[in-house]
């Protein structure tokens, strides 16, 4: 039993933090930079420090690390507002390594080098969060039809990882090139403006058996759980960054002859933020471990606990961060809204609090029944 990271992983986290601070400052977004261009400039730097190979096995050219170590990196992605296409690509590498078999070796090697961008096409209008209720499906001729929402970076992706029911009606994963006949990609206007999102429409797209990733429903469950885990971790990073920003501001800002941070009405709220972030971190780190090493039941429970807590924390911290900056917090210039947008986006996209709560309760009842 040990709930801590190794020193070398903290050092890697610092490297990533410093790199992002130097290469991807928020000023660029505030001054009207297009996230597509910013991402294009950032990508090679991230590839250079080996980030895209983080979870690619060493014999395929990666670092061979696990979702445990990714937790610290994912936090930094949240804090620095790294476009979600980066996370999607790294998460895809985990899924391809686990379920793709020999057919995916070449893709893994390219992923490790950062020369392959994968977009995860998961959610749908009227689909909610349960893949069993998604409409996108393959017919018995192997034709894929359906419409996916909020697919990060899809227009620039080399491959689309699409959650779709197979011809037997079971959730499965298809990996296809975006230029295949029948696929159309349209940019969306989404709440989060520090990344680019697309609607991906598939109309009778030919999918060969070789385009399907193995693992069926378990592969889909792992993908969704890993995306939710990464979201919970990024929310922890967003929370920590917002608290730092807020604390720095209330130390400086003076009213009634003293820094407003000296008033209990302010400082007590900062303390509550710190408590919430600390606990959300515990959950997010534990979910990372459960993704790496937990049995499926423990994984589902850990991920949903982490995401439910991260969601509540996100709403709380983002509300307070803007409020405690007063009128300045509501200005474009102060740029808090970028984190607000990204935080609420992650909160809602990868499973609502209610969805994850219900999974936790169902798991608990099953566990209690087994113990009886």
């Amino acid at each position: 039993m040990n709930f801590d990271f190794d020193d070398e992983h903290y050092m890697f986290q610092e490297t990533v933090r410093d790199t992002l601070a130097a290469e991807f400052p928020i000023d660029l977004l505030r001054d009207g930079g297009d996230p597509v261009e910013l991402d294009a400039a950032l990508w090679p730097t991230l590839a250079q420090i080996g980030l895209f190979g983080l979870m690619v096995p060493e014999d395929h050219g990666g670092l061979g690390l696990s979702p445990i170590e990714f937790a610290l990196i994912s936090e930094e992605f949240g804090a620095a507002l790294v476009p979600l296409t980066v996370t999607d690509t790294i998460v895809s590498s985990l899924i391809l390594a686990r379920f793709g078999g020999a057919a995916q070796v070449e893709n893994l090697e390219k992923l490790a080098l950062g020369s392959l961008r994968v977009a995860c096409a998961v959610y749908e209008k009227d689909g909610g969060y349960d893949p069993a209720a998604f409409a996108t499906a393959l017919d018995d001729q192997g034709r894929l039809t359906g419409r996916k929402l909020l697919v990060a970076g899809a227009a620039r992706a080399d491959l689309l990882l699409i959650v779709a029911k197979d011809s037997a009606g079971e959730p499965a994963l298809a990996l296809v090139e975006p230029d295949r006949a029948g696929i159309s990609i349209v940019r969306e206007n989404a709440l989060d403006i520090s990344g680019d999102y697309y609607r991906v429409e598939c109309a009778d797209v030919a999918v060969a058996p070789g385009d399907m990733i193995g693992g069926g429903g378990e592969a889909v469950a792992c993908l969704l759980d890993m995306l939710a885990t990464a979201a919970a971790q990024s929310i922890a990073g967003i929370g920590a960054r917002m608290l730092d920003t807020t604390v720095a501001y209330v130390k400086e800002r003076e009213q009634f002859g003293q820094p407003v941070g000296a008033f209990q009405a302010i400082k007590h709220r900062c303390a509550d933020m710190a408590v919430d972030i600390n606990t959300a971190r515990s959950g997010a780190y534990y979910a990372g471990w459960a993704m790496a090493a937990g049995e499926p039941d423990e994984r589902v429970r850990a991920v949903s606990m982490a995401k439910a807590k991260a969601n509540r924390m996100a709403v709380h911290i983002l509300r307070e961060a803007i409020q405690l900056h007063g009128g300045m917090g509501y200005t474009w210039e102060m740029a808090l809204h970028f984190h607000f947008r990204r935080g609420r986006f992650l909160e809602t996209l990868y499973g609502s609090t209610e969805f994850h709560n219900e999974r936790v309760l169902a798991g608990t009842l099953a566990q209690l029944a087994a113990e009886r």
Binding site: M1, N2, F3, D4, F5, I68, L243, V247, V250, K251, F256, G257, Q258, P259, G261, A262, F263, Q264, I266, K267, H268, C270, A271, D272, A274, V275, N278, T279, A280, S282, G283, Y285, Y286, G288, W289, A290, A293, G294, M305, A308, K309, E354, N357, E358, V360, L361, T364, L365, L368
Partner: protein, 401 residues
């Protein structure tokens, strides 16, 4: 990072489990319970602590030279989990083991450790904590209880309050003023006081539950030998901070987490059998959401503890960060107990002794008891001051015209 237990840790767990099964009476927790009378219950708990000592389970993570097992905090945690699983009685010498002993290990002399620690382990001497005063609660540093040097003794005069278990205690840790002229934090000293000394009187206070755990304690010309001073004269505030960081720390929180989780499991079990209106209570989506929130909150309380344990094993000492844990658990536990009586419906309001009461009426009682969580060991407001000033570095409130 690894949440799996090592073979040694698993073997330790099996050993604890087997011992508890043997030591507790047949039917314990199902048909046999603790005495309901408070005095009898206190005696029962003392005798349980002695049994733990005889079995070698007292002071699991204490160093071997003080009679402990020298085991890790993880094993201490496993022991607490197994006690909870067996619904073993709680101890009464919590202040002795968790506060007095840990403080003496940091700041006591070797003579003091040899004198006091073995008898804490053996539950031969029960301890209480004489810190708060009627006019020095949250503002603990303004304590006025005086200790004046007189020959080989200090002479104590003053009043303490909220002294839990003083009526059963042999010894107390005492914060008293030894320099009237120094700034308030710099004139306090830390003592061990024999609670049987002439001049000490203890008056029980009745709590909102009707129970009488805590007391007012009066000191009138009470003589304490100078050898009972812990640490340096006028260095008591710093030492008391050590005591408080343990009181708010992960070891304390983990043991509580296990008890809270048991109560939540019991609540869920009762809701599975209960009906409200036309449906089973456990099928009500609103109730399911509230239960899930508490499950998450309490599981993450455990995760917070384990993270702190891992830091402590790496050698980090508990500091102001322990307030993060205490502020968190006190509120989520209170919310859980608030929720418990609401989701049970009308019968949730029946208390112990009523034949229709749910789970012997423990939820409304726990709901009342949980009011104390956000007050003792420093109110939530004090924890927020500590976090904001000492963890986040925000300025102290200024003295404005």
């Amino acid at each position: 990072m690894d949440f799996n237990y090592s073979p040694e840790e698993q073997a330790f767990r099996s050993e604890v489990r087997a011992w508890l099964a043997d030591a507790l009476p047949e039917g314990w927790g199902r048909t046999v319970f603790e005495p309901e009378d408070e005095e009898e219950r206190a005696q029962f708990r003392i005798s349980w602590e002695r049994k733990l000592f005889e079995g070698g389970w007292s002071g699991i993570s204490w160093p071997q030279k003080y009679g402990g097992r020298g085991a890790t905090l993880i094993e201490q945690g496993i022991f607490a989990e197994e006690c909870a699983r067996a619904q073993a009685p709680e101890g009464i010498n919590v202040i002795g083991r968790n506060l007095a002993a840990t403080t003496l290990m940091h700041h006591g002399t070797e003579e003091q450790r040899e004198r006091y620690l073995p008898k804490i382990l053996a539950a031969e001497e029960i301890w209480c904590q004489c810190f708060s005063e009627p006019n020095a609660g949250s503002d603990l540093a303004s304590s006025r209880c005086r200790a004046e040097a007189d020959g080989d003794d200090f002479v104590i005069n003053g009043q303490k309050i909220w002294t839990s278990y003083a009526q059963y205690s042999h010894l107390g840790i005492l914060l008293a003023r030894t320099d009237q002229d120094a700034p308030k934090h710099k004139g306090l000293s830390f003592f061990v006081v024999d609670m049987d000394s002439p001049g000490i009187s203890v008056r029980p206070l009745t709590q909102i539950t009707g129970e009488q755990e805590f007391n007012e304690t009066f000191f009138e010309d009470v003589r304490i030998p100078k050898a009972n001073l812990v640490g340096d004269l006028n260095d008591g505030w710093r030492i008391a901070m050590t005591t408080l960081s343990y009181e708010r720390g992960a070891e304390d929180a983990l043991a509580r987490q296990i008890r809270f989780k048991q109560e939540l499991d019991l609540l869920i079990e009762n809701l599975q059998d209960a009906r409200q209106g036309g449906q089973k209570s456990i099928d009500d989506p609103a109730i399911r959401q509230r239960l899930a929130q508490s499950i998450v909150d309490l599981e993450l309380m455990r995760m917070n503890c384990l993270r702190e344990f891992s830091k402590a094993i790496k050698g980090e000492k508990p500091g102001p960060e322990s307030s993060l844990m205490k502020l968190y658990w006190s509120h989520v536990a209170q919310e859980m107990f608030d929720m418990s009586i609401e989701v049970l419906g009308p019968e949730g309001l029946l208390m112990q002794g009523d034949s229709d009461a749910v789970a012997r009426g423990r939820f409304p009682l726990s709901c009342m008891q949980s009011r104390a969580f956000t007050i003792y060991s420093g109110t939530s407001e004090i924890q927020r001051n500590i976090i904001s000033e000492r963890v986040l570095g925000l300025p102290k409130e200024g003295k404005r015209a």
